[in-house]
Amino acid sequence: MKKISSLVVGGLALVALGAQAGTLEDVKKRGVLSCGVSTGLAGFSQKDEKGNWSGLDVDVCRGVAAAVLGDASKVQYKPLTAKERFEALRSGEIDVLSRNTTWTHTRDTSLGLNFAGTIYYDGAGFMVRKAIGVKSATELDNANACIQAGTSTELAIADYFRENNMSYKAVTFDTSDQTRIGFESGRCDFLVSDQSQLYALRIGLNNPDGAVVLPEVISKEPLGPVVRQGDDEWFNIVKWVVNASIEGEFQGVTSANVDKLKKDGNPAQLRFLGTEGKLGENLGLSADWAYQVIKQVGNYAESFERNVGQDSPLKISRGLNAQWNKGGILYSPAMR
């Protein structure tokens, strides 16, 4: 009997761990941020041979670590498939999910999660093998689609084909590698995913020139980091780290000039970098939190060009992801 009652107590204790606030204290105590990323997606979250992670999504993790712990390298990365990601976050296994995740109404309102902003405005699209000679998605009636399971893409493609009175077969895979292999082996005629990921997958093909990305964009896929609902302090931190990166670009603060501007910048820059005001204190962080983000990770433009833009193999242009005053829709709320 004794054994049983201790089992019961142990089990209950385990379950009671589920809901928790105070992620900030946990992370500080642990000294390292646990960040959920993809299993490997060029430009967004990808591990090199030495085991170092890089990418646009990874830069969010690094930014949060820089702001909270003062060191962008204090991150433990957890590779997750599309199916696993939300459970990993809800169960407390990770502190932030930064894995090209689309901000949707359902996810935001029914999963017990909060989206902390958008770091990349994307949309789902198609990649086809050149050999099938298709120029537009409207020619894809009765074709087979390779899709990753547990994504918003599964929903987007169902809508698109229904709207256009076409039919298709959905061949779903758990990982992006399997999805790619399915596409290469000819199990499917086309691969559907967010456009950015199509470019990333394309350079990973055995023969990238044998595949083309079609012009159609069939859905809205704003990608951004996610946190657990019910911990507003932590939610604010992640939200403002994202904003800091965008605001940094807007104010012309880069990792190269941040030290100089911290001393003799204009009032907005001085406030942003913590020389004046108390933005950091309000977040429960040190005064130089944004300085650390820009210094160690760079502003949005630096991060973008390095990972997915002109300095990367993906060569994606800014498009929607330019500042609002440069033809895009990036806009950080006021940093004051």
Partner: protein
């Protein structure tokens, strides 16, 4: 089984029945009940607390709970469905789709695993060196490689290497095999087709009756009747005869290449092929071992006795050895079948839309309702295994040694 009660037991029983005057809490019977009851209540409380606690935590997080999601439209498609399905159908229907797909792959897997198991299990005792070696090698290889690896092997190595749609292997413009599956014609019944369906049932009953009669007849007269060939004749002849008489009331729908894919006919998707292959080859290896063990458990004297009666080798096997071996084999089959059903959840690895994949995989992910979806799925696998167990126990008592 009944056995005589020992005097101690009888005494104990009467003591328990209240003849002794001790206090209730000293009564071993009540005490045992009490402990059992306390244990039960403890367990119930344990599970109740876990579930209510978790649900409470989910609500605190602002996550949705409850089963109302079942009536919401799923909004995504599944690759294969035995009933009609599209993205506007509900999660409840997805559940049924997944369930049927699980049953399908399990039934196919169990059938072929049994066939492979018996063939290779018996082949182990062949007098032909090559056959014996092949049987041993089969068991050694497929029993020792992780099942997931075998699933990947069949799917990514074997079936992915098949030619593309336009270069399909074909047989008489009716059967096609390519990287997207195996396609074959479908018979669509018209007006008088029920006559043919009925004749199939009649033929099946006829065969059972024939077997029964032949056995009785042999016991009485000692004459053997060629049951096998006659049955074959009845099974195929009768429906064929009625089909001819009614003027073949069927249309044949052939698969035809339309755009990207073959349409029409029946399609067996490669995910189903790979999973059934992997499951049946893998489980077949274990069943072969069970069959071998069962046969070895039959004393050699039985073989010698049968031979000395002048029975031919293959009849020794089929009439004397295998029926006796079944007593050992059947309980082992039970657990192999149950494992096969559970192993079919590896479907997710290659995207076969079984219950686990479409429900615990995708539905859970889209709705976030982990507890509900997992609970429903667990119940289904539990019931499926209970059914297998029940059927196999029935079968087991029918092959159990009958002492006369």
């Amino acid at each position: 089984m009944f056995k005589e009660k020992t005097t101690e037991e009888i005494q104990a029983a009467s003591r328990i029945a209240g003849t002794s005057k001790g206090a209730v809490y000293n009564n071993p019977r009540y005490r045992a009940w009490f402990y059992q009851l306390a244990m039960m209540l403890g367990l119930l409380y344990f599970f109740y607390s876990i579930i209510s606690n978790t649900l409470g935590n989910m609500e605190a997080l602002g996550a949705k709970t409850g089963f109302s999601f079942l009536s919401a439209a799923a909004g995504y498609d599944v690759l294969m469905s035995l009933i009609s399905f599209d993205a506007t159908d509900t999660y409840a229907r997805i559940f049924v789709v997944g369930f049927l797909n699980t049953v399908l792959v399990s039934v196919i897997g169990i059938f072929f695993a049994t066939v492979f198991g018996f063939i290779f299990g018996v082949a182990h005792f062949s007098h032909n060196w090559l056959i014996r070696k092949v049987a041993i090698t089969y068991v050694e290889i497929f029993r020792n490689i992780p099942l997931l690896l075998q699933v990947f092997f069949w799917y990514f190595a074997v079936l992915s290497a098949l030619p593309g749609t336009r270069e399909s292997l074909s047989l008489g413009e009716a059967f096609f095999l390519n990287v997207r599956g195996f396609y074959f014609p479908r018979l669509i019944g018209e007006g008088g087709s029920w006559v043919v369906y009925a004749s199939i049932f009649v033929a099946i009953f006829g065969v059972f009756f024939l077997k029964h009669w032949a056995k009785k007849n042999q016991e009485k007269t000692g004459e053997q009747f060629p049951v096998f060939y006659t049955s074959l004749g009845i099974l195929f002849g009768l429906p064929l005869f009625f089909a001819l008489v009614t003027g073949f009331p069927f249309t044949i729908e052939y698969p035809v290449l339309k755009g990207f894919n073959y349409t029409g006919g029946i399609t067996v998707i490669p995910e189903l092929m790979a999973l059934s292959l992997a499951l049946s080859v893998y489980t077949g290896a274990f069943i072969a071992e069970a069959v071998r063990a069962g046969i070895q458990a039959v004393p050699h004297g039985q073989t010698e006795a049968a031979r000395s009666l002048g029975l031919k080798e293959n009849r020794v096997m089929s009439l004397i050895i295998v029926p006796q071996a079944m007593r050992v084999i059947v309980p082992l089959l039970n657990s192999e079948y149950q494992s096969l059903v559970k192993n079919s959840t590896l479907a997710a690895a290659i995207g076969y839309p079984d219950l686990f994949n479409v429900f615990v995989g995708t539905a859970l992910n889209q709705t976030g309702q982990a507890i509900e979806t997992i609970f429903m799925t667990v119940v289904v696998y539990f019931i499926l295994n209970m059914i297998i167990s029940f059927l196999m126990n029935r079968f087991n008592s029918s092959v159990a040694l009958v002492t006369r």
